[in-house]
Amino acid sequence: MPELIAEVDRLSLVIEIGGIPARLNATDPDFLRMLEARYDGFLSASDSVAAEFDVDLSRPNFPDPEADVRVTLTSGQWSLERGDFRAQWDPRSGRGAIRQSANPYSIDSVLRIVHTLVLVKQGGFLLHSASAVRNGKAFLFAGASGAGKTTISRLAPPDSTLLSDEISYIRKQRDGYLAFGTPFTGELAKLGENISAPIAALYLLAKEDENRIEPIASVEAIRSLLANMLFFADDPELVQLAFHSACEFVDRVPVFRLTFVPDARVWELIG
């Protein structure tokens, strides 16, 4: 008589972004191969991970596929929901589960959310900004859609290295902040390089008819930083931490308004 319960092979890979590894376990090798290709350059052999998820690709059939993301904390466990996925994550054990279809976008969103939850406790954050390294220093270019993140990334000179054209990864250090490359892409659909560098400046982008850099007041800098910070958690304590992180970042990193004509000369002002 055959065994009634068959053991299912559980396969896994580790994706390390910003120096923080997360393991994904699944039973579908094709799905993991897709993720290997998607996160090429960010795969890790690390045994010690900050987060680990079992991914269930069984037909999700969620009631409202268009539902917005919702992140809530109940009894110490995070619940992450959107129209296309459901996930739980226990920050104490680092263990969690994701239910979604076999697509790379849901996992990408879960990773972004989990990284924001990990970073906010450390004074770091994800920022809607392009970022690049030049002469050993990282520069961030923040703005809403249409502000010029993709344009400034496309215009980046050969002696610079793109960290991201859409989502920058920022970690606090003892004496400043580091920006890390991310696989979170925007219109360029090009993964950032998996490197890091100390952040020298944050530029708030605006397209105009001349290239100009102007300092801005701290209040405006904090307001703009918060407006561009990725933050999903419906949790008062973390909102307070995010606010203080923004204040501290503005205390320590110069913030400027960068108005620019969309051609390569803008990079003459940077680096």
Binding site: S218, R223, E237, V239, Q240, F243, H244
Partner: protein, 105 residues
């Protein structure tokens, strides 16, 4: 109007910058910037000191305004801040575990 007592709401993050106070609501992430007068009142909102005393001690020495007008303006402002969840307003002294700090932690 009877005496009003005001206290900073919990679940707020606040930071003084260039003489103004930036306050972020922890419940809906709304960001507020208080002007100088509102900042003085918010910083003095300890739940124990009546608003008329705050006006007398903190507002009148700073601004050229008569006491009655200052108190009326302060009451309007306090109720407005309360409507945004930034302040708690009561006709009795307010005790709470630990109000939001006036500076970033």
């Amino acid at each position: 109007m009877s005496k009003l007592y005001i206290a900073r709401s919990p679940k707020l993050a606040a930071r003084a910058l260039d003489g103004e106070m930036m306050i972020m609501s922890g419940t809906d992430s709304t960001l507020y910037t208080l002007n100088k007068t509102a900042t003085i009142i918010w910083q003095a909102a300890d739940g124990k000191t009546p608003l008329d005393e705050i006006v007398e001690r903190r507002i009148l020495p700073e601004f050229e305004i008569d006491a009655a007008s200052a108190l009326q303006d302060a009451e309007t402002l306090a109720l407005d801040l309360a409507s945004h969840g930034i302040l708690q307003v009561s006709e009795e002294p307010i005790t709470q575990p630990k109000p939001a700090s006036g500076e970033a932690a």
